[in-house]
């Protein structure tokens, strides 16, 4: 890791078990601030599982056991003294399948601020507008904010989910294959958006699409069978990876 970069999250010796099955094996890596880090690897390699350990979404699954440390803001987020709700406010998440609430566009974006106690209407309006502008959706929906979020197209729904996450004002955005269910045009829009967002946010994105990883990310981590195989500069990863296993995967020889 180059020393001129600030580090946002440091993962050390992370092990994760589903019941008796080990899904992550001694993973250690440091995620740089204000950069896009891509997690790649074949299905079931643990990349999504790893992503979900960063905001403790795995807590919601019964039978998951986690060992090791994840340092964020100088705290181990798995420490007993850490409030998981506060953590998730600072580390937002975008899911593979867009999941707008069955409410209006406005209510979707205002959900986060509202549960944080913002009740002033003009303040909410401002947050909603800013979030939709930042997620590049404002121009398309500004005239029908009261329309149901479910009435939007797939790509718009995903950007609505991004706006919803931005409205909570997080520092980190976790994206779990955010464009996998979208058409190429929507995908491009999301990728452009990611490029814009990294100016303000640290982004970690899981993708199964090599080109996407190469296009949007600054760093790439390659996972295989629960192990972190290689983690390096994206350009280097896609031109001259250190390990043959990484090269084989990137060249499409397996997975």
């Amino acid at each position: 890791m180059r020393m001129d970069l600030q580090t946002e999250i440091i993962v050390e010796n992370l092990n994760l078990y589903y019941g008796k099955k080990k899904a992550l094996n001694n993973v250690s890596l440091s995620i740089p601030e204000n950069k896009v880090t891509a997690l790649i690897g074949p299905s079931g390699c643990g990349k999504s599982t790893f992503l979900r350990t960063l905001n403790r979404m795995n807590d919601l699954i019964e039978g998951v056991k986690i060992e090791g440390t994840v340092l964020f803001d100088d705290r181990n987020i798995y420490d007993n003294s850490v409030d998981v709700v506060e953590l998730r406010k600072r580390i937002g998440m975008i899911f593979q399948k867009s999941n707008p609430f069955p409410k209006s566009i406005y209510e979707n974006v205002a959900f986060g601020p509202k549960i944080n106690g913002v009740s002033n209407k003009s303040q909410l309006d401002e947050i909603v507008e800013q979030s939709l502008i930042r997620s590049a959706l404002w121009d398309e929906v500004k005239d029908d904010l009261n329309k149901s979020g479910l009435a939007l197209s797939g790509g718009q729904q995903q950007r609505l989910c991004i706006a919803r996450a931005l409205a909570v004002n997080p520092e980190v955005l976790l994206m779990d294959e955010p464009a996998s269910a979208l058409d190429p045009i929507s995908t491009t829009k999301i990728e452009d958006l990611i490029y814009e967002l990294k100016k303000k946010y640290t982004i970690i994105i899981v993708t199964h699409n090599m080109q996407q990883a190469a296009r949007v990310s600054d760093f790439t981590a390659f996972f295989y069978m629960g192990d972190l195989i290689e983690f390096t500069d994206t350009r280097k990863m896609f031109t001259a990876p250190d390990l043959k296993q990484t090269e084989d995967y990137i060249r499409g020889r397996f997975g």
Binding site: D74, V82, D83, E86, N169, K200, Y201
Partner: protein, 347 residues
């Protein structure tokens, strides 16, 4: 590290009162449904307790007087205490014990009350068995039709209609049996008593049909598609598949349906109260009037004196009803849960 984006939330664990309260309240309320079952057990058995632990007459009288003014006195209900009394107990006629419960006569009112529950048990069994015999075949056949043979559109009409039958209040079924069915059946069969076990059983079948139908239907539609498809692919016809593949696989479910129907009929009160004639006879002739356990409680409880022997015996009958239906439901659930599931998983 410098906090960014103006987000200054600390990661420290916070105490959230609404969170704490909501979880606490939700857990407490959920636990109350468990407590209710325990309470039902406790209170129904408590009122029936003097049968298991008869007291000397003197003790009983004072207990009775106390109860009238001060409610229950928990101390005197203690089993150890009562067992002691049991050893020195001498049977007398108006104190219920297992001895006079087993008699053949139910005559709770009179010079010498008799609390023989045998005719009541026979009555309950007679009506229940008749209800199952009439209702179950029809319900199961109907379930087979709507689950296996009916086109999808028709099935979606049949199902809610039969579910509607479940919304018939039992007092209305009883009323129908009393005023219409009884007369029609008497004209057809020409027996001498208008109200009898046969009428009651047939009316009860109307209450049993929806429950047997619904559970059987669920069991039949729960059979994985690959099973019937495999059979159809081998050249079996639709009915062969239904008869030789789907039905055997669903047997535990159908058995559970029968048990639940039995439990429903055994505990049902208003239908038998109105349609069976209510005479406590110990005969197996289905064309004679009968009196069931549930109907006895329904008919007599309002008139008894709180705490006296008749009251206790009625609670004893209620406790027995509770135990029997409880056991039947537990077995039914066991069958559905374990057997049916195991079969599909091939364990």
């Amino acid at each position: 590290m410098q906090k960014k984006n103006g987000n200054t939330n600390s990661l420290d664990r916070k105490f959230r009162l609404s969170e704490f309260l909501s979880e606490y309240i939700i857990k407490t309320v959920a636990f109350s449904s468990f407590a209710i079952i325990i309470l039902i057990f406790v209170f129904v058995f408590k009122e029936a307790a003097p049968i298991f632990f008869p007291k000397e007459k003197k003790a009983e009288t004072s207990q009775f007087l106390q109860s009238e003014t001060y409610g229950e006195e928990p101390g005197t209900e203690q089993p150890e205490n009562s067992l002691e009394l049991y050893s020195s107990y001498t049977p007398s006629h108006d104190v219920a014990s297992f001895k006079n419960l087993t008699g053949k006569n139910w005559q709770p009112v009179g010079e010498e009350p008799k609390y023989g529950v045998l005719p009541l048990i026979i009555g309950s069994l007679k009506v229940t068995v008749l209800a199952i015999l009439f209702g179950a075949p029809i319900a199961i056949l109907a379930a087979i039709f709507s689950a296996l043979f009916a086109p999808k559109g028709l099935r979606e009409i049949i199902k809610p209609i039969i579910e509607l039958l479940a919304s018939f209040p039992s007092v209305v079924i009883g009323f129908f049996a009393l005023v219409t069915l009884a007369t029609v059946l008497q004209n057809i069969f020409g027996y001498s008593y208008r109200l009898n076990a046969f009428v009651g059983g047939l009316a009860m079948a109307l209450a049993v049909i929806p429950i047997v139908y619904t559970v059987t239907e669920d069991a039949l539609t729960a059979i994985p598609k690959y099973m019937s498809e495999a059979s159809l692919a081998l050249g079996a016809t639709k009915w062969q598949t239904a008869l030789f593949v789907v039905m055997p696989a669903a047997t535990p479910g159908i058995f559970a349906a029968l048990l639940l129907g039995f439990g429903r009929a055994f505990g049902e009160t208003m239908i038998v109260l109105m349609a069976t004639g209510n005479a406590p006879l110990s005969t197996f002739n289905i064309f004679e009037p009968v009196r069931t356990m549930s109907a006895t409680i329904g008919a007599e409880m309002a008139e008894v004196v709180f705490g006296d022997t008749h009251y206790t015996v009625l609670f004893f009958i209620g406790a027995s009803l509770f135990v029997v239906t409880f056991a039947i439901n537990a077995i039914a659930e066991f069958y559905v849960r374990t057997k049916l599931m195991k079969r599909f998983r091939g364990e």
